[in-house]
Every structure is written in C-alpha cells, then in structure tokens.
Amino acid sequence: MTDRTKSQVVVFAAALLLWLLLTASLAWQELLVGTVVALTVALATRDPGGFFAALRFEPLAPFHALRFLGTFLVALVRANLDMARRVLTPALPIRPSVVKVRTGLESELGRLLLANSITLTPGTLAVDMEGGELLIHWVDCPPGTDMEDATRDIAAGFERHLAGFVR
Amino acid sequence: MEPMVLMALLIVGAGVLLALGRLAAGPTAPDRVVAADTIAVITTAAIVLLAAAFDSPLYLDVALVYGVLAFVGVVAIARAIEGGP
C-alpha cells in the first residue's frame, strides 16, 4: 500500500466516523450517503505526501493509542490544577522561559500530536518547530535547564506512547 | 431552567466578561487575539450549556459551527500577524 492510499484510507475512515457522529443514526440510507460522501472526500483530498500515512497499521497500535490517551488525560487534569494554583496565588509564582526540545518522531503527524499534547500539559506551550526541534515556552522553568533535561521532562513521556502508533 | 445549569451559565458569563476586559485593555493586538480566541471557546461551551438549558439538541450544531468558524478566524489572524501567505 502506497503512502497516498494509506492516507486516503484514514481520511475515509475519519470522514465516515464524523458523518456517523453528526447523523447519530445507523439507518441504511444514512450509511449509504455517508459512505459516498466519505469516499468523495477521501478521493478529492490532495495529499501527495500522505499526511496520515505516518500512522502504523499494526496489531498493537490501538493499545498504544489508548495508553497515549490515558497519559494525555491525566496530564490535562494535572495541567489545569497546576494552572489554577498559579492563577489563584496572589504572588503569581511563574518563572517563564523558552527552551528547546528534541524529538525522535519523523512524521509531521507525529510532531503535530506531540506539539498538541505539550500545549495542553502542565505549564508548557509549543511555540515553533524546526526540523526535529520544538521550541517551547515553559511557565515554570527551573534555572539552568538544558535541552536534555527539557526533553526528558516535557516530551519523553508522550513520545514513548506516540512512537507506538505513529512514525 | 434547572438552577444548577443557570448557575453554570452565570459563572461562564462572568468568565466571558473577564476575558472581554482583557480584549478591551489590550495592550497589544496579539493580546486581543488571545482574548478573542478564549471568548470563542468559552462561548462554544456556553452554547452547549444553552442546549441543556433549553432542552434542545439543535444548539449543538450551532456550537459545532461556531467552534469551526472561530478556529479558522484565529488561524487566519495568526497568519496575518506572522506576515506569511
């Protein structure tokens, strides 16, 4: 399967899923029209590089995706309690700084997911991406942090799970 | 309308007012964009609350479309600030 076909299969599945969520019905007429629409969308998508081809079609991939989702939700809740504490403390305890983080993910999709997760987790905001390096604004940066520390603290946890289902 | 839903709506309304304060105060254009983005997402949530308050799932479609338009607007403005294509 070429990258382009693989990407189209994913687009088809995603479009069909969105259709099912929006119509909220499994009547055969809805399914038929939904399939036609999703097929049209998949075929009309101009995506020569195969954006979604980075997904791994492997037996263990869904398991890794679920683990990633779990880690992510826990981090999201922690991020919010952390942010709430900072905002409500009168002294505003922040030490903002910009750090660089290296990622081993090669595909655009993988990097997008990583950057999104970083933005939604405690005190970090993905600012820019150049090659394999992410630029991150960190609200509470310990003094003297270098790239290795930052990579370990911010990205490594997500990357381990992400690497299981995207390239 | 159920009292707890009304209370949630009031709290969300207070949040929108605070964010409006930032929108008015600025001081720079990006601050206002961030405030507008925040207001848009809070409003999406508020529309979902309205759906519960009026017991009508029609509002959910409104929320979805509102969210889509707000996102496109924010990305367009970000691109304009960046000066890119």
């Binding site: 969105l18 929006l22 909220a24 999201l76 809740v77 919010n80 942010m83 900072r86 905002v87 409500l88 505003l92 922040i94 903002p96 700084s97 910009v98 950057a115 999104n116 933005t119 005190g123 905001l125 993905a126 600012v127 820019d128 630029l135 604004h137 | 159920e2 707890m4 839903v5 209370m7 949630a8 709506l9 969300v12 949040g15 929108v16 605070l18 964010a19 930032r22 990006p30 601050d31 961030v34 405030a35 983005d37 925040t38 997402v41 809070i42 949530a45 979902v48 609350l49 759906a51 519960a52 799932p57 959910l60 479609d61 979805l64 969210g67 996102f71 924010v74 990305v75 691109r79 000066g83």
Partner: protein, 100 residues
C-alpha cells in the same frame, strides 16, 4: 447520574472562569495563551461531559464537539504563539533576571 452531570458542568464553568482570570492576571502574552488555552479547554470538556450525562441520547454530537475543541484549540494557540515569536515578541522575565 444527573447530579454528577450537573457537578461536572459547574466544575467546567469554574475552570472557564479561571482561564479568563488567568488571561487578566498573567504578565505577558505567552503566559496569557497558556492560562487561556489549558483551563478553557478542560472547562469546555467538563461542561460537554456534564451535558452528556444529563442527556445521554445526545452523545454522538457532543463527542464531535469535544473532539473538535480538543484538536483545534491547542493548534490555534500554537499558531498565535508562533506568529508572535516570529514577529519578534520575546517572553517576559521577572525583574532582576538576566537574558540567558
């Protein structure tokens, strides 16, 4: 179940309020993006989950709205942050700290 839904709604509304408060209190635009995005994303998700518990038959559309917020909100924030960084706005530092 309905009670839990209402509690989730209130919690979500409070997080939205906190996000807006952060937007007002934070000293520079990057920190404002952080406060705004995180708290408001989580607040919206809580509200949507709460409404989902009150009206279980609405869940497909609620899932669509939730997924959409979860995927687009951080992208929008990162887009603004990148635009700021590229146009030369540097983060605020506490007085007395030197540039590193």
């Amino acid at each position: 179940m309905a009670f839990l839904g209402k509690v989730l709604m209130l919690v979500g509304a409070l997080f939205c309020l906190l996000g807006a408060l952060g937007l007002v209190r934070m000293p520079d635009v990057y920190n404002r993006i952080q406060a705004g995005t995180k708290a408001v994303t989580m607040g919206s998700l809580c509200i949507i989950a709460g409404v989902g518990l009150l009206h279980p038959d609405w869940w497909p559309k609620l899932v669509a709205v939730a997924l959409f917020i979860l995927l687009t909100n951080p992208v929008g924030s990162s887009a603004i942050a990148r635009a700021l960084y590229r146009s030369g706005v540097r983060p605020w530092r506490k007085a007395g700290e030197e540039e590193s």
